[in-house]
Subunit: 352 residues, 2 copies
């Protein structure tokens, strides 16, 4: 795989005279202040006086908080339907949401490669700001480091999220019982296919789009429709649905059987997977969750999700069984049952 | 500057057969789980069942929390007196401490370069764990990404810290009044000189050591001895004391005059700075704070700090004055007064 460059797919045109990141932007002195005042705070500061140098202060009346962190190294920086900036918000708020929390605050830390055009940085920051507004979270603290050309690939982000836990918090995979229904909130595998196609320039037209989007609304719908009958929820990111179900099987006393006919897959993902020999079950989503819900509440949960146009393709894709030798199996369209492999990785590096 | 390698200065011997990071360690599937179970959780998990996949839950009775984030790209990974692992803890808990908070929780996110020996990762994680215990903070959430060889330089870390604010919280630089005393908690410039000497192999014997260490104890001593008379506190990291004072001058109605004779500088830092043409005022510290304290409490504050052997070199290095044309000036040993330059950066890339 050739090394991607940060200009790939960037929506702004960059020429040889473009202003670029220099090492001094990371040294904490005058140029750092200019970067903060001229590029970062106008986009992310929200008008409030924020001391981004040391620590921000936040006020909560909740005693129980959820905390999560994620670094983002996706390549290319921009891809159909998304980009590293909005992904760094969606990925982190989704980890909070599926843990049962309302996302409230995020931090943003950037590692920039010397020579990155400032216009690329600005475009990424604009997308961070857009996604933070969409998800109703505040960017409360930040950090910028610059490394010499060659020591990083353009731009890496880290976001850490803090949310307020809302009762009832899902119990976790240990609560899954045989007979429970497995739900997904939408078509699977879209994010990984979108990034892979953008990187390799296969020329699909139109190009597959990522599903990256906030999942807090879907979690709210599950909570409202199924309450404590929601056993556990997970955003199916790296490793896809298969990785989630293998983890749940390892953590619980159940196995899983999927119905291929019930798994929502878009035509473009199906086509790309067939062409490339990939299994959609192993491809990452960034705006699609999996949930285990007790069987008697599954129809209500699906109805609640489908009533929201963002989750119109929600589906019951299988069920939990008594523990079997095969942790995850799938009943194919023509009736035969096959094991689902646990992904070992490296299928798609740098997708998030 | 030649590109440093991650084996430089590492305390473990690495040979050609060493186990190394592969891309699949970052893919969220089986190898990721093995990395987590075999290398990360044994060192950082603290024995408690932690769900490091999505979000951790923490419980606080404080309504006011401090939040800070920092990425660490220091090169080399190990240097006299410190390393990227312990620095990533000290840097973040110190940002919380100088903001008036008791550090409680941190997250740890890693970007690893394919090919990094696992023994180097283990050595770094051991140091994270050691520093977290020393600082009495829990590592509550984590993330690992792996990028292909050449797309990062060995290992980058991000830590995000959450602390509980303790009254009285220092007001900030706007509260500084003419006549206030400027304090430092120890000798300045040690961290930057230590990293620079380790990287360039100047051959100083013994090599200069970093000052990296927790500052929460020093802040507690200031709080106990001077209470609300502590105007503002800052850890003097990138850009050194000069960057801190220029920021304070820009944010307040005062200027500063330093007394060179009162500024603690170790012999090795003084020697290295003279040889290399550097100004200790512009060199980063990682375990030394600057504070502005009302004049009538300054002696009590210094006495409290000096009574702790870790801060025995604490000193009043200058004072705030009415606003002048020169934001920061210094009275040299022989009496003449000179402006102190604001660092513009790039003096020492990748020191933290």
């Amino acid at each position: 795989m050739t090394r991607p460059t940060w200009s790939l797919n960037c929506p702004v045109r960059i020429d040889a005279t473009a202003d670029r990141v220099v090492l001094a932007h990371g040294e904490g002195a005058r140029l750092s202040r200019q970067l903060l005042a001229g590029h970062i705070l106008p986009r992310l500061g929200g008008g409030a006086p924020i001391d981004w140098r040391d620590a921000a202060s936040v006020t909560t009346e909740q005693q129980r908080l959820a905390v999560t962190t994620d670094s983002f190294v996706v390549s290319p920086l921009f891809f159909p339907g998304g980009d590293i900036g909005s992904l760094s918000v969606h990925g982190t708020v989704n980890d909070l949401a599926v843990s049962g929390a309302r996302p409230r605050w995020i931090t943003l830390s950037m590692i920039l490669e010397e020579g990155l055009p400032l216009a690329v940085l600005d475009a990424v920051l604009d997308r961070v700001a857009w996604a933070a507004r969409e998800c109703d979270v505040l960017v409360v603290a930040g950090d910028t480091k610059v490394v010499p050309a060659g020591a990083a690939d353009g731009l890496f982000l880290n976001t850490t999220g803090i949310g307020e836990l809302i009762d009832p918090v899902p119990s976790g995979p240990t609560a899954i019982q045989p007979g429970d229904a497995l739900l997904v909130s939408g078509p699977i595998g879209r994010h990984g296919v979108a990034v892979l196609c953008a990187r390799e320039e296969f020329g699909f037209d139109p190009p597959p789009q990522t599903d990256a989007a906030p999942l807090f609304p879907a979690v709210e719908l599950l909570r409202a429709s199924a309450g404590t009958h929601v056993r556990t929820i997970r955003d199916a990111t790296r490793g896809g649905i298969s990785a989630v179900l293998h983890e749940w099987a390892a953590a619980s006393d159940v196995s899983f059987v999927l119905e291929e006919s019930q798994i929502p897959v878009t035509d473009d993902v199906r086509g790309a997977c067939e062409l490339l020999g990939l299994d959609p079950l192993q491809i990452a989503c960034e705006g699609t969750l999996a949930a285990a819900v007790s069987a008697d509440k599954a129809d209500a949960a699906i109805a609640a999700l489908r009533a929201d146009s963002r989750f119109a393709a929600a589906s019951i894709i299988g069920r939990a069984t008594e523990k079997r030798l095969t942790p995850v199996a799938i009943r194919r369209l023509f009736g035969s049952e096959q094991p689902v492999d646990e992904p070992t990785g490296a299928l798609l590096p740098r997708i998030c």
